[in-house]
Subunit: 284 residues, 2 copies
């Protein structure tokens, strides 16, 4: 496995691979890798001939006051994880490799970024689209892999790729969960033992929403209300949003139609940690 | 010469060329081609193995009230010009090929777009960077050719390429002028005979600025003042700006240093037509 921090070297490696007829897959990450990331790389390994992982804690997607400085940096363990998952090349740029001193061009998402996470974290998604566009420009993948965990993010990246006509296929991979249902996240390591216990309510609320969509005739709004009740029952979670939204447009409230699809989306604060989770839901 | 309106077909053609080891050059245009455009294609022809021209009147770079609807569309003549200049492929997309109904992602330039043209045409350069990013994504060139005529535009595109790490080399080609000095422009055809006579004052003002930079010890501001005097002498030109600026940052007013470089930049209104021109200048 090659580890490279220089964009121009990465481009060379990838172009060599492509010249040899290889299909190139890319897995962009911020490091602090867990099994969710592994599942992305393993999928890339199965579907591609040359797998590039990127590890870069992107400053522009953190808001002032967010956890940029304390975001876990675990490069050594991350590289083992990449090797175990079958990556061929890991791109580990320094900040100055991705943002020159005078950098000023950004990629701005549109209305998909103006709801939910976009309201709570204004500017976050512009940081994401800008860095992902850059990572795609450096790694020139045929296909890139993202986790469903960041549901709104993968929608926005799909939209960016479509809008900017980038020659990349986007694959969204299922959320990987702990045995009790908690969605894996690099931020779970911030949780105290008591917070870790309470965190299970996110997946429990989503499971209940899914059950109600199938077994009751409650409206989307009533189901969202039930999710909020569950989340608040522990007394530890501060609910930022818990809604059923359209899985393509993120519009809500969503009318209930038989066989219709929704995505349940949750964000909470738990102590100083912010957690999100989601699940695709189908109405009976 | 192939003429294609579908992005996916263009990508196929270009990728075939590249698989055959060809160097790909791209010349993005809005059609209404003149000898300035020809010079770009001819340079591309000399330096590349496969030359792609694009012809697309990009709606998002026109402001409300500008000349989008009356912008000259002369496809038949344009295609002859492309063929004569040695283009291998001409990409002539329809608007819906470049902007899907739901398109919302944009590429936003930074502070280089906040002066001069950016003040007079707010949003114009975001339209330019967005469409050029898309055209690069479709045509995947090794090198792309732009005219110095749109001086601020080529700076902003260079900045975009650097910032977004796009694997494209930008080449800026000299302004092509009529015998009396008027910079060639698709918009020159809007001019009445009297306006056409007055239009020569732009290049005359720039020539005088260049002379004063060499032969006088006037400051940048004093030289700019002389440019404005010349432009106003005809009584027909409304001067929007006429300045000497830093040729990299566009900052002005510019201190005069021996051997220092400047760019003289002019924009005027002449009846209902807007004209711009520029020249690189060196102080003695």
């Amino acid at each position: 496995m090659i580890v490279e921090e220089l964009p121009e070297r990465v481009r060379e490696h990838v172009r060599n691979a492509r010249r040899n007829g290889m299909r190139v897959g890319c897995v962009p990450t911020m490091g602090a890798l867990h099994q969710g990331h592994c599942s992305l790389m393993e999928r890339a390994r199965r579907e591609c001939d040359f797998v590039v992982s990127t590890i870069f804690v992107n400053p522009t997607q953190f808001l002032p006051g967010e956890d940029f400085t304390r975001y876990p940096r675990t490069l050594e363990a991350d590289l083992r994880c990449c090797a175990d998952s079958g990556a061929d090349l890991v791109f580990t740029p320094q900040t100055e490799h991705m943002y020159a001193e005078n950098a000023q061009t950004t990629v701005q998402p549109g209305k998909l970024a103006e709801v939910l996470e976009g309201v709570i974290r204004p500017g976050h998604f512009a940081g994401v689209t800008t860095i992902v566009a850059k990572l795609f420009a450096v790694t020139e993948p045929d296909v890139a892999y993202f986790g469903q965990k960041d549901f709104q993010q993968q929608l926005i990246i799909r939209q960016m790729v479509r809008d900017l006509k980038l020659p990349v296929e986007i694959v969204t991979c299922p959320i990987v969960r702990e045995v009790d249902g908690l969605a894996m996240s690099s931020r779970n390591r911030y949780l105290s033992a008591a917070e870790r216990d309470a965190a299970v309510e996110l997946s429990r609320a989503l499971a209940e929403a899914s059950r109600l969509a199938t077994e009751s005739s409650l409206s989307s709004e009533e189901i969202s209300e039930q999710m909020r009740n569950i989340l608040q029952s522990s007394g530890q979670l501060e609910v930022q949003y818990a809604v059923l939204a359209d899985p393509e447009t993120l519009e809500y409230p969503l009318g209930r139609t038989s066989g219709g699809e929704a995505v349940g989306l949750i964000a909470v604060r738990l102590g100083t940690t912010r957690l999100i989770d989601n699940a695709l839901i189908r109405f009976s």
